[in-house]
Amino acid sequence: MMKNEHTLADPFNEKVEKDLLAHLTSNRRKGRIFVFVLIAIILVGLFAYYRQLRYGLIVTAMRDYTSWGVYIANFVFLVAISLVGSLFSSILKLSKATWSTPLTRISEIIAIAAIMCASIIIIVDMGRPDRFFNVLIHGRIQSPIIWDVIIITTYLTISLLLLYISLIPDLAICRDKVKNVAKWKRWVYKVFSINWHGTPEQYKILHKISFTLSVMVIPVAFAIHTVTSWLFSTTWRPGWDSTNLGPYFVSGALMAGAAVIIVAMYFIRIALNLKEYLNDKLFDHMGKLLVMLSLVYLYFNINEYLGPAFKMVGVEGEHIIELFFGKYAGMYWMVQIFGLILPIVVMIFKWGRRPLPMLVLSFMILLGAWFKRFLIVIPSLQHPYLPIQDVDESYRHYIPTWEEWAITCASFAAVLLIITFLIRLFPVIPIWELKEEKESNSKPNQK
């Protein structure tokens, strides 16, 4: 009985392989246009960066008081996005939420792309990128920046390992099944599938190390965002001097990560014609997950602002008033309402968890998440303990210049480009995991 079921000509396996490998050989025009557009945006960003290198950070709108701007906000955002990798390939996996299996690879790819661009954007923010190696030569481990450098490297490594480990069996499938592609791709499949033949021993090792890595990634992921939050909370700035910031950032990151996955799902299933795998039910699950994560984030959000708003101490109070009623009130309430409350309310209902509404809501959440980071970084800097006096008008306000926007957009384009590249190269849904899951599901049910 068993023998029949597991011959190689299992219809389910055949179909899965056919569907999921299809996009590796196709090469459509739309895709090429998309890539060209991305490269164009990156080139504009590079030009802006060239100007910044040449004339200094004066080309940005940052000045002595607002000494960090959209770069840092963007950095925090990208780090937040990168947490999605650990959410799917670790937290959900370990809690045996099997519905999330098709999303693990997407999430890992996004994580890698985001964390790479985050580390680039932090170099862009440096006044002296030419002295980057001072960080290695003179690094002081008392500085949260060094913690950040260390943990970003660690997280990038673990994300690459996670992606690679779960790729090995699929690469072997590619090696065996995908013939009609460029030579270098075939070379990649051959070399990186490292002699995988699916022997029990190999499977045993694979499961072991993927379990090790998924346990290991949780503390590292928590650490990366907590350390990023400590860039702020180890200072005394109003709005930053908050012990809550670590878990607050982590919860915000998980929410943004889930939203990013939904957006990615939506477009991937259209572009690669994978409606069957990235189905409406998956969207429904993601919606529930997103609501839960948003509620947690909402809870931390309340904690972040309620205490200071109740106390209204000095500059801290001024900062809160500025956010609630002042210059930034519009942005603040837009972010809170459209980036948090509204998505929760809509997605609680089943009709809100269909693909299209979810796409729109996820976009709103992502926009909200980006601007939330803007609101964390900039207004705090504009409320120092000592009054801002006797300075040029440009020191009082912060309106990002086109160079800053161009570089920011380029970083997003780079994220998309890396994602596109990796998706074109590898099966976007882990084939072997689907197979394995089906096997373990079908067995007990049979009885």
């Binding site: 008392q142 480990i165 002699n195 033949h197 090792i205 190390i209 590292v220």
Partner: protein, 282 residues
């Protein structure tokens, strides 16, 4: 602001050169300040400061100053010196200097600035008697006191105490002298003050005491010094402790970091090793 300052300065200079050649009438007033100063090594010197009136008085640098020793009958050139940035010039009076004395032992100096096309000439006379100032320390029980003896050196090296001379007592600080009192000398030429009870010294508690007669009409400025370990020793930080603020991290932080990082990175290596094992497993 930096620029502005420099332009003003250049402007002045330009003005000086321009007006200097055109009219001798518009010469600027100059002032000369001369001080006789005898330091604690008993070295005597004349310090002259030349200032000129621009919009306000500013020091004149690079000006030639002549020093003469004069008495009723004779006048001898001692030296010619050029003023520095601060308009100052210091003449060292040594044993070779040809100095005239009047019968009562008074030395008279004449200091002169010759002037040029833009500045008026100016000259100044100063007369001083030679005197000595010596400092002594006394301690009786817990009372510590500083005593000064002032004496005049007469024509034949005859020493007589000076009475009614104002002497100031200082403690030498890093940047300036801290005033701890002043006293008039008595008939024996002595003046005494009590030493303040709490006073920080250096690491060994040594304090440098400076006593001075300042700008006296007869004796000029005379200074004397002494050192005594009456101060409270100051603890000196040799090295910042290994803390958050130091370049070296606290050791526990180093160890924690190493442990945490190696825990994680060891697993990475282990995973990579396993990948190799997968490759080899057949």
């Amino acid at each position: 602001m930096n620029n502005l300052f420099k332009y003003i300065l250049f402007g002045f200079m330009a003005l000086i050169f321009a007006t200097g050649d055109i009219s001798a009438q518009g010469k600027k007033t100059t002032r000369l300040q001369v001080e006789y100063y005898k330091n604690h090594d008993k070295m005597e010197m004349l310090i002259a400061t030349l200032i000129a009136k621009e919009r306000r008085y500013v020091p004149l640098a690079g000006a030639m100053i002549r020093f003469y020793s004069v008495n009723d009958t004779s006048k001898a050139l001692l030296e010619e010196l050029v003023t520095n940035d601060e308009g100052k010039v210091v003449l060292k009076i040594n044993d070779n200097s040809k100095i005239f004395y009047d019968p009562s032992g008074i030395m008279t100096f004449e200091v002169e600035y010759g002037g040029n096309s833009s500045y008026k000439s100016v000259q100044r006379q100063i007369s001083v008697k030679r005197a000595n100032l010596d400092v002594f320390f006394f301690q009786k029980d817990s009372i510590k006191s500083i005593e000064v003896n002032a004496s005049e050196i007469g024509p034949d090296n005859l020493i007589t105490p000076i009475q009614g001379l104002h002497v100031r007592f200082y403690i030498k600080g890093t940047f300036s002298l801290l005033d701890i009192g002043k006293e008039k000398t008595d008939q024996y030429g002595n003046a005494r003050i009590d030493f303040p009870v709490y006073m920080p010294g250096d690491t060994a508690g040594v304090i440098k005491i400076v006593v001075k007669i300042e700008d006296d009409d007869d004796y000029g400025t005379i200074e004397s010094r002494g050192e005594i370990n009456w101060g409270i020793p100051v603890k000196v930080i040799k090295k910042e402790r290994r803390g958050l603020g130091d370049t070296d991290a606290p050791l526990w932080m180093v160890y924690t970091l190493i442990i945490l990082l190696s825990a994680v990175w060891f697993h990475y290596l282990y995973v990579i090793y396993m990948i190799i094992k997968i490759k080899l497993a057949r």
